[in-house]
Structures are given as structure tokens and as C-alpha cells.
Symmetry: C2
Subunit: 228 residues, 2 copies
């Protein structure tokens, strides 16, 4: 498959590297290619600049959101949630129409400091916002409830644990399920919650996830729904 991964942060890099390792033709999308390549300092989380990571994986091309989406069969949104709608708008509705759009972002709002809150929340979700803004894309919300290393290597967490999937298009969810299987997720651990409004529920797992991260001191954990 030809994938465009939106977002040059640690989540986008991790997903793109996994897709490339699985043999998919993978492009990373960014707002401004030159600006991304010009960064020489670690980001606010201490991750190395993009070029340093990119040096080890040059076959993953860096393009603008629009160019990346245009050439892709499916798009994965791994941008910061606060920037996702802007990034997808820059990609262009025509370049998203008819395609599976996998949303793995969370609408974390750091504007009032730590811990972040969610915006939107409760009566809406980022997944729903994206589906409303791009009605011709087939939005599937998944993977947003765990650390990115766990997303692409579920064996990092011992025991059974769950990845949620939601979206309005059954065939798109089937395609995403195939991708998750290729990432190493067991079929029985992929839980379909129904339509895209379920993104409200999975995004609202973030506050307890952040709290657990603090309490446990590591990110190699995940939600499991026992009894399924």
C-alpha cells in the first residue's frame, strides 16, 4: 500500500518506520518541508530533530501534506491533535476523498499547562470533527489509546491488551484491522466500538492514561478490556 503519515514527531516517525519495514511505500507529510529539515534541536519532549531520525530511513520521503496525501492510498493522521484539522485542510479535501483516513491523534490541549485537558471532549471528539470536515474520507479512529511504541509492537506489553477501532465505514475498518494484524495485534484484541462517535470514549481515556504514565513511570502499558 502507499501510505502518507502526517506528522514528523515521534508518533509519525514510529508509524512510518513500521510501515516501511512492512514493505509499504511510505511518505511523511509536514506543513513546511524546508522548516522541518532545518530544525537542528531536539523537540520539547527531547526527541532528536527529524533529519537525524531521517538519516537512518531515507527511503521514507518527506513531502508537504498535500503532496503526501495526493500520492497515497491511505492517510494516517499522527499530528498533534490541536493541529490536525489544519494539517488535513492543507492536504486538501480532494486528496483525502474516498481514502481511508486513520486518525491516531488526541486533541490534547496544553494551553493551561500540565496536565493537558481535551478539546473537544464529552459531546464531540477529534475523530468526529475530522469526519465532519472531510465527509468523503473514510475516517477510522484507532491506536490513540497507547504509546506509539506499543502501537507498532504490542508484544512490548505482557498479557492480553486491547486496541479499539471505530468509524462509519465497515470496509475501511476491515482495511485498518488488516493493518493492525500486520503490526502484530491478535484478531481477538481488536475491538470494534461502532461508528466514529465512539472516538469520544477512546479520546477520553487519555487523562487516565497520562495519570498511569506518571504513576507507573513508564509507557509500556495498555488498556485491556477483561471479559472480552
Amino acid at each position: 500500500m502507499r501510505y502518507a503519515v502526517f506528522g514528523t514527531g515521534i508518533v509519525g516517525r514510529t508509524i512510518a518506520a513500521k510501515l516501511a519495514a512492512l514493505g509499504h511505500q511510505t511518505v511523511i507529510g509536514t506543513r513546511d518541508v524546508e522548516a522541518t529539515l532545518a530544525r537542528t534541536q531536539p523537540d520539547s519532549m527531547g526527541n532528536p530533530p527529524f533529519t537525524q531520525w531521517h538519516a537512518s530511513l531515507p527511503e521514507v520521503r518527506l513531502k508537504t501534506f498535500a503532496e503526501a496525501a495526493e500520492g497515497a492510498e491511505a492517510v494516517i493522521n499522527a499530528t498533534a491533535g490541536a493541529n490536525s484539522l489544519e494539517a488535513l485542510t492543507a492536504a486538501g479535501a480532494d486528496n483525502l476523498a474516498g481514502k481511508v483516513l486513520i486518525d491516531i491523534a488526541n486533541p490534547l490541549d496544553f494551553s493551561a499547562g500540565m496536565p493537558p485537558t481535551l478539546n473537544p471532549v464529552n459531546t464531540d471528539s477529534l475523530g468526529e470533527q475530522i469526519q465532519r470536515a472531510f465527509p468523503d474520507a473514510k475516517v477510522v479512529k484507532t491506536l490513540n489509546t497507547m504509546n506509539c511504541e506499543v502501537m507498532v509492537d504490542p508484544s512490548r506489553v505482557a498479557g492480553a491488551h486491547t486496541v479499539f477501532v471505530s468509524g462509519n465505514d465497515a470496509e475501511a475498518k476491515n482495511q485498518v484491522t488488516e493493518l493492525l494484524l500486520s503490526f502484530g495485534w491478535p484478531k481477538a484484541r481488536i475491538l470494534d466500538l461502532g461508528d466514529i462517535t465512539a472516538a469520544r470514549g477512546t479520546e477520553m481515556l487519555l487523562p487516565v492514561w497520562l495519570r498511569l504514565w506518571g504513576a507507573l513511570g513508564h509507557a509500556d502499558f495498555n488498556f485491556h478490556i477483561a471479559g472480552t
Copy 2:
């Protein structure tokens, strides 16, 4: 121990029955004793009226919130979240002061129909509201992330699964942990998330819980944090 359980619905009944079975002197608190006893119809969820349930467990006395709290060493809030502050206010701050106040409620807001939303949410929680309103009580949030049958009988759900605890008073959390152990929770599955602000996170698990309830068609499931 002498426990007061606030709430005459299915959650309060289930908790009270378990406490009585464990040999605790247990009282149920309600706003208006006569009104509760006068009901002869099933509630909106189809549960039988209180008197019908009570006939099988007459040793659990029914009292007003204030009377129930006054005679108790610890109070368990199992009222509907929208009514919790009113119920606790009726109990009286003096009757709660210095006591462990176990909050197992969720602030579900049904005012806009189904599914319910949460109020408060995101930047506040019911657990925090209760602690602020009754600063001399030792509020511990727990058990609010599962069906009431699972609360008192974790063996209903196969495999490992988690109960969260949060609160500002370490000794109060120890007391609640002892109670959870007596309910059948393994020590390793009782997860301390820190102070009462963690109630934000656990209350925000409700939307995905409700979604899972719909998707699975039963309530014998629970969150587990794999990797702990």
C-alpha cells in the same frame, strides 16, 4: 465497621448487601425514607422497588442521609452523580468530618438524552467537587469504572482486571484497599493513581464503558491495565 451506603438504587443495594454479608453493620441512606418505602413500581432501569429488595435483607436499616451518616464510621456514596452533592449536603458536613467517604458515583448527565455526557468533566470531577465541598471528609474515589456486580465480585470477569483508587489521604486509601481486598480484589489489581484529581481520569472512562456495554451486550467486563 459501621457503614452508611447512600443511594437506594441497584448500586447502593449491591454494595450494602455485600457489606452486610461480610458482617459489617450497614445502613442505607436516602433523602426521604417514607417516599422510598412508598414506591411500588420498578425504577426506570426495571429494577424492583426498594421494599421488595429490602424484604430479603431487613437487617440493613433504611435511614435519612443525616441519620445514616451520623451513626457510621465510613460513608459510601452510591447515589446518582447528579444528586450526590445534594445528598451529602443533606447528610451534613459534621456527620462526614473525619470519616472516610468512598465515592463510587459518576456524574452522568442524561439531560440531553442518550448517551449521557459527564458533568463535570475534563477540568474537574465529581470526586474533586465532593472533596472541596467537604474538606474534613477523607474522600476516596474507587469502583466507579465497572458494573456494581463486578465491584463486589471481581471473579465475574475472567482474567486480570483493575480497580483504581485515588484520594488525598493515604490512611483512608489503605482502609479502602482493605475493603476492596475483602470484596475479593487481588492486591496487585488495586491501582493507586494518587490524589483525588485522578478522579477526572477514572470518571472519563465512563463513555467508553457505556460504548463497550452496548457493543458487548453485557456488563461483565472491566478495564485492566496490562503491563502492571
